[in-house]
């Protein structure tokens, strides 16, 4: 409020000053300074000098006109085939929308697109793999795991073992013998066969059974031969491994009969 009243007073004061200045007598004003005579007078006509007209050379004019910078030809724009294509597309689209069916399709099409987008976002947020829905295989790493590992339930161990022994491939024979033992243990329900388990998982699964020590021995033999890459296994070494396996299989069979 104080500021407003001050402003009003200042305004009144300024008005008073303006009035005072206007009423100041003429004698109080400064005298005008004497000015030079600036009246424009026409020059006297010079009738003696001959005015010569100067014209540009025709040749030079022609050269100027021939220069590219002076060619003011307006180039008319031409539509390309691509522009014409899009013009036709838009024309067709406009005509489509002009119909009643087109308008309905446009309206519901927008809603459908919004719905699809919403569902896609929800699925992505839920991390649902939708690639299978479109018949495409899921993305796999470049180093795909070997899916052709043996299925112990389908192998013909007798024939394969005989073949490996006959060809002197004792390393493979030890492997097949061990896999055969794993199958027999699985068939008797003593272990739960799963490809993700290690050999020592199966040793632990046997618990305090009397089968555990000989099976652990077989496991060690298999690991030394297979993971140790004992490709030059002798017949005598293989005979030891085979005898241990056969003895274990007999013990396993007797355990089954006792049960």
């Amino acid at each position: 409020m104080v500021i407003i009243s001050l402003l009003i007073r200042l305004r009144r004061l300024s008005c008073l000053l303006v009035l005072l200045v206007a009423l100041t007598p003429a004698w109080s004003k400064p005298k005008p300074k004497p000015q030079a005579d600036l009246t424009v007078r026409p020059l006297p006509a010079d009738r003696t000098t001959i005015v010569s007209l100067r014209r540009p050379a025709e040749q030079q004019l022609r050269e100027f006109r021939a220069q590219r910078e002076f060619q003011y030809v307006e180039v008319k724009s031409e539509h390309s085939a691509w522009d014409l294509f899009w013009a036709r597309v838009w024309q067709w689209f406009s005509s489509l929308l002009a119909t009643r069916g087109g308008r309905i399709m446009w309206e519901y099409g927008i809603y459908a697109l919004l719905l699809i987008g919403f569902v896609f976002v929800v699925l992505k947020l839920m991390q649902v793999d939708i690639t299978r829905a479109f018949g495409r295989a899921p993305r796999r790493s470049s180093l795909a795991y070997d899916t052709t590992t043996e299925d112990i339930h389908t192998l013909d161990f007798s024939a394969l073992l005989a073949e490996a022994e006959a060809t002197g491939n004792y390393r493979l024979a030890v492997r097949l013998g061990y896999l055969q033992v794993l199958k027999q243990l699985t068939d008797q329900g003593l272990i739960q066969w799963q490809p993700e388990k290690t050999n020592h998982d199966y040793v632990h699964e046997l618990g305090a059974s009397s089968l555990r020590p000989p099976f652990r021995e077989l496991t060690q033999q298999f690991e030394y031969v297979w993971y140790g890459e004992q490709n030059d296994l002798s017949a005598a070494q293989y005979a030891l491994a085979r005898d241990a396996r056969v003895a274990f299989q007999r013990q396993l069979a007797s355990t089954r009969h006792a049960a």
Partner: protein, 346 residues
């Protein structure tokens, strides 16, 4: 290691599988590992003079030394992280250096610096404490990232470059670092690039009740304590180099290489992980498995070796997604999940 930990890879799992030197004589190792076993046993004996329990930790430290890798020991204060590292260094007859990382530590405090000599009018490089065979970095995560970055070159390339001059480290060169969990006051998370340079990250847990009683009894009777003089050096640098060469010649079945690559590769595709492990992790897993197999008396690697080392190699190299972290999962949980998903080569 953690004996009563709820983590999937606790001491119970750390126990050696039922295989090793006691295998059938007909299939004895083709490589003579008796020298390695003798040295390893001697180191274990020296460590057990002071340290009660922690057998799995001792085995993993030996594995890292044989695999030419650096080790990060993490645990709450008072669980003998630093003591174990000091004792291990003492069992090796090599140069030893200790660095206490603090928030104001500068890279030149670690690597060394060039000093101007007025009488010669030239600069002379004064090596820092990093120039030793065994370097114990205590409380490594109390220094800022700037100082941590100074370790990148030396940990990976075993050299430092100062003023355009290359200064190689001595062989062996092993960094044993200790840190408190990052939740502790005044600690920082180490850069991923640095974490990747550690072969293992070992979680040091509390001792069992029996072990803690044994610690108290030893201390009460005056036999315990931390008198390092009782620990003798039992392995020279030359011995260590020979043992490492032997470890490098271990047999690894080709399917096992694929198994390692699949394990590590799965960390990059796992939905619960924000950052997967690098190819350096695959190499670490391979080298570690070879060393562990040798320590266990075998001249070949088995899937158990790989599975056993997987959490120690991978836990510090992977980052969980925020969702997984909020659900209470740990890196060890995810590693165990991955191990259980991958088919074992047989």
């Amino acid at each position: 290691m953690e004996n009563n930990s709820p983590l999937p890879f606790s001491a119970a799992d750390d126990a050696a599988p039922e295989t090793g030197a006691a295998a059938t004589s007909a299939f004895a190792p083709r490589t003579d590992l008796s020298g390695l076993s003798r040295h390893a046993e001697a180191i274990r004996q020296e460590l057990s003079k002071i340290i009660v329990g922690q057998h799995a930790l001792a085995e993993l430290l030996l594995t890292a030394i044989l695999a030419d890798g650096h080790v990060l020991l993490e645990g709450v204060p008072g669980v003998a992280k630093t003591l174990t590292a000091k004792l291990l260094a003492r069992t090796l007859a090599v140069s030893f250096s200790r660095l206490q990382f603090t928030p104001d530590l500068m890279p030149s405090d670690v690597l060394g610096t060039s000093v101007f000599l007025p009488n010669k009018s030239e600069f002379e490089f004064r090596p820092g404490p990093i120039f030793a065979s065994i370097v114990l970095i205590d409380e490594i995560n109390r220094a800022p990232a700037k100082t941590q970055s100074a370790l990148f070159e030396v940990m990976e390339e075993r050299q430092i470059t100062q003023d355009g001059t290359r200064y190689p480290m001595t062989d062996p060169f092993v960094v044993l670092a200790t840190q408190n969990p990052i939740e502790q006051e005044g600690t920082y998370r180490l850069p991923e690039a640095q974490l990747d340079r550690f072969l293992f990250k070992l979680n040091v847990g509390y001792p069992t009740l029996e072990e803690e009683v044994a610690i108290l009894q030893g201390h009460h009777s005056g036999l315990g304590g931390t008198s390092l003089e009782r620990v003798q050096a039992v392995l020279t640098a030359d011995d260590l180099r020979q043992l490492r060469a032997q470890v490098q010649r271990q047999h690894v079945e080709p399917k096992l290489l694929e198994y390692i690559a699949r394990l590590v590769g799965q960390t990059r595709a796992h939905k619960g992980l924000y950052l997967g492990a690098s190819p350096r992790a695959s190499l670490s897993l391979l080298n570690g498995a070879k060393a562990l197999a040798a320590l266990r008396g075998r001249d070949f690697v088995t899937p158990e070796d790989v599975q056993y080392l997987a959490p120690h190699v991978l836990r510090h190299r992977i980052l969980l997604t925020p969702e997984r972290e909020m659900e209470g999962h740990t890196a060890d949980d995810v590693v165990q999940q991955i191990v259980q998903q991958i088919e074992v080569p047989r």
